[in-house]
C-alpha cells in the first residue's frame, strides 16, 4: 500500500467545458484528498465522461483549472491510465495490445515480456494471450484494457462506465479487477450511472447532473441519505433528467 500519493490532492477549480455554445461541464469545483475509489455518479448526459476526460487532459478546459498534486494535467498524463466505455483494442493479439503501450513507454524487450505475462496473469487472461483481442468476449475485452492499464503501473486509473455494456458475470470480473487496482494503492476514479455499482465499489461519490456537481460525500453517507434532493430521487430509483 502506498501511503503517500504523489498525484493527490486532485484539485478541480471552477472547471467548465463548453462545446458549440453549450456548457457540458459548468463551474465544477472539488478536491479529492484520498486514494481509493471515487465514483462520478449521475444520469446519462450528466457530464461524467467529459469530466473524466478533462481530468485526463483529453479535452481542453474552457475555463477553470485542474491540478494533480499541484501539477498540470499534461505533465502527469502519463502517470494515469484511462479505460473507455467501449474497449479500444488494437487489431492484434491480447499480448500485443499490452506490448503496444509498453513499447510506447520505451520498455526493453525483456521488461516487456515480463510485464505482459504478469499483467495478463493478474487479469486472468494468461490463456488467451495469443487470441486476437477483437475476438474476445466483451468481458474479456474490458478486462484486457484494464490489464493494459495495469501494465503501465499508473498512479491513477480513470474508468468511463467500464461495465455499461457487460452482463453480470463479466461485470463482476471487471469490478474485481477495479477493486484490485484500488487495493494496490492507486487512485481510481470511475464514471458510472449505476447506483448499485457505486455502492459496491466507491469510497466517495461525486454526484453530477447537467454538467454541475450537486454533491460530494463519502459513499456510505451519500447512499444512506444524500443532502441534494435530486440525488435523493436518483438513489430512490426515479428517472432523473
Amino acid at each position: 500500500m502506498q501511503s503517500q500519493h504523489h498525484m493527490l490532492p486532485l484539485v478541480v477549480d471552477g472547471a467548465s467545458y463548453v462545446l458549440k455554445g453549450k456548457a457540458i461541464i459548468e463551474d465544477v469545483s472539488f478536491t479529492i484528498q484520498h486514494a481509493g475509489l471515487t465514483a462520478l455518479l449521475g444520469p446519462n448526459g450528466a457530464g461524467k465522461s467529459t469530466l473524466l476526460k478533462l481530468c485526463h487532459g483529453l479535452l481542453p478546459l474552457s475555463s477553470g483549472s485542474i491540478r494533480w498534486g499541484g501539477a498540470d494535467v499534461h505533465e502527469v498524463q502519463q502517470k494515469q491510465a484511462m479505460v473507455f466505455q467501449r474497449p479500444v483494442l488494437l487489431r492484434r493479439s491480447a499480448a500485443e495490445n499490452v506490448d503496444h503501450v509498453l513499447k510506447l513507454r520505451g520498455a526493453s524487450a525483456a521488461e516487456r515480456a515480463r510485464v505482459i505475462e504478469e499483467s495478463l496473469e493478474w487479469a486472468g487472461l494468461a490463456d488467451i494471450a495469443d487470441t486476437p483481442a477483437r475476438k474476445l468476449s466483451g468481458g474479456e475485452q474490458q478486462s484486457l484494457t484494464i490489464a493494459r492499464a495495469w501494465a503501465l503501473n499508473p498512479e491513477v486509473l480513470l474508468l468511463d462506465e467500464p461495465t455499461a455494456n457487460l452482463d453480470p458475470a463479466a461485470t463482476r470480473r471487471v469490478e474485481d479487477l477495479i477493486r484490485s487496482f484500488a487495493g494496490a494503492g492507486k487512485k481510481v476514479i470511475m464514471a458510472t450511472h449505476n447506483i448499485a455499482q457505486a455502492q459496491r465499489l466507491a469510497d466517495e461519490v461525486l454526484f453530477l447532473n447537467h454538467g454541475r456537481l450537486l454533491e460530494h460525500a463519502p459513499a456510505k453517507q451519500f447512499m444512506s441519505g444524500p443532502s441534494d434532493p435530486l440525488a435523493a430521487r436518483f438513489i430512490a430509483g426515479e428517472l432523473v433528467e
Partner: protein
C-alpha cells in the same frame, strides 16, 4: 469466326508451350508494375496517413486533389513524364526515356494517388476509433501513424492490390514513355495493342488471357483479404 478460333488456338499454344517471347513480356510487365506499386506504396502509405492525422491549411484541398488524381488519365501522365524525360526536357540528361525505369516512374505516378487516397480514408476511419486511446497513452505523431498503418494492414493491402491492378492493365502511359521496344520495353498491354494492329491476334489474345487471369487473381485476393478482415473485426 474462323479467324477468332485460329487466334484462340495460337494463343493456347503459346501459353502451353511457355513461348519465350511471351514469357519475356509477362516478366517485364510484372517487374515494371510491381516495382511501380512498391515504390508508390513507400511514399503513399505515410503520405496518406499523415494527411489523415494532421491539420494544416489547405488540407481539404489536398484531400480533394488526392481523390481526383485517382482517376488521372494514363496518357496524360505518360505525356507529362515524356516531356520531363525527353532530351530537351528538364530531366533529359538522365537518359531514362524509353527504358523500363521510365515506365516504372509513370506507373508509380498513376498508382500513388490511389494508394494514398485509400490509405487516408482507412487511417482516418481507424483513427476515429483509436484517437482517445492513442492520446491517452501519449503516442507521438509517427507512433500513431505506425500503429494505424499496421492495424489497417488488411484494408491497406487491398489498396495496394487495387494499385497493382491499375498499373498492370494500363497502356496509355507505358506506351508513350516506354516506346514499346522489342526485348526492352514491351509489356503485355502495349504488345496487345501492337499485335492487334498488326493482325497477329494469337499473341494478343494469349497475353489478353494472362492479363484477365491476373485481374481475376488480384480481385480474388482483394475479396479474400477483405473477407478475412471483416471476420477479424467482429
Amino acid at each position: 469466326m474462323n479467324e477468332f478460333s485460329n487466334a484462340f488456338r495460337t494463343a493456347l499454344q503459346l501459353l502451353v508451350e511457355m513461348d519465350p517471347g511471351l514469357v519475356e513480356i509477362v516478366l517485364l510487365s510484372l517487374r515494371v508494375s510491381l516495382s511501380a506499386v512498391i515504390l508508390a506504396a513507400v511514399f503513399a502509405l505515410p503520405l496518406g496517413a499523415f494527411v489523415a492525422l494532421t491539420q494544416f491549411p489547405g488540407r481539404r484541398g489536398v484531400v480533394i486533389l488526392m481523390n481526383a488524381m485517382m482517376s488521372l488519365p494514363p496518357v496524360v501522365v505518360g505525356l507529362v513524364i515524356y516531356l520531363l524525360l525527353s532530351h530537351t526536357g528538364p530531366l533529359g540528361v538522365t537518359g531514362l526515356l524509353f527504358t523500363p525505369t521510365a515506365m516504372i516512374i509513370a506507373q508509380c505516378v498513376l498508382v500513388l494517388p490511389i494508394i494514398a487516397a485509400l490509405t487516408r480514408q482507412t487511417v482516418f476511419d481507424l483513427h476515429e476509433e483509436y484517437d482517445e486511446y492513442l492520446r491517452s497513452v501519449g503516442a507521438g505523431t509517427w507512433q500513431k501513424i505506425a500503429t494505424l498503418l499496421w492495424d489497417g494492414r488488411t484494408r491497406l493491402s487491398t489498396a495496394i492490390l487495387a494499385g497493382f491492378g491499375r498499373a498492370i492493365a494500363e497502356v496509355g502511359a507505358v506506351i508513350i514513355v516506354g516506346g514499346n521496344i522489342l526485348h526492352s520495353t514491351r509489356v503485355m498491354t502495349t504488345t496487345i495493342a501492337l499485335e492487334t494492329s498488326k493482325g497477329d491476334l494469337g499473341m494478343a489474345l494469349g497475353l489478353g488471357i494472362i492479363l484477365v487471369l491476373m485481374s481475376v487473381a488480384v480481385n480474388t485476393a482483394v475479396v479474400t483479404i477483405g473477407g478475412g478482415a471483416n471476420q477479424r473485426t467482429v
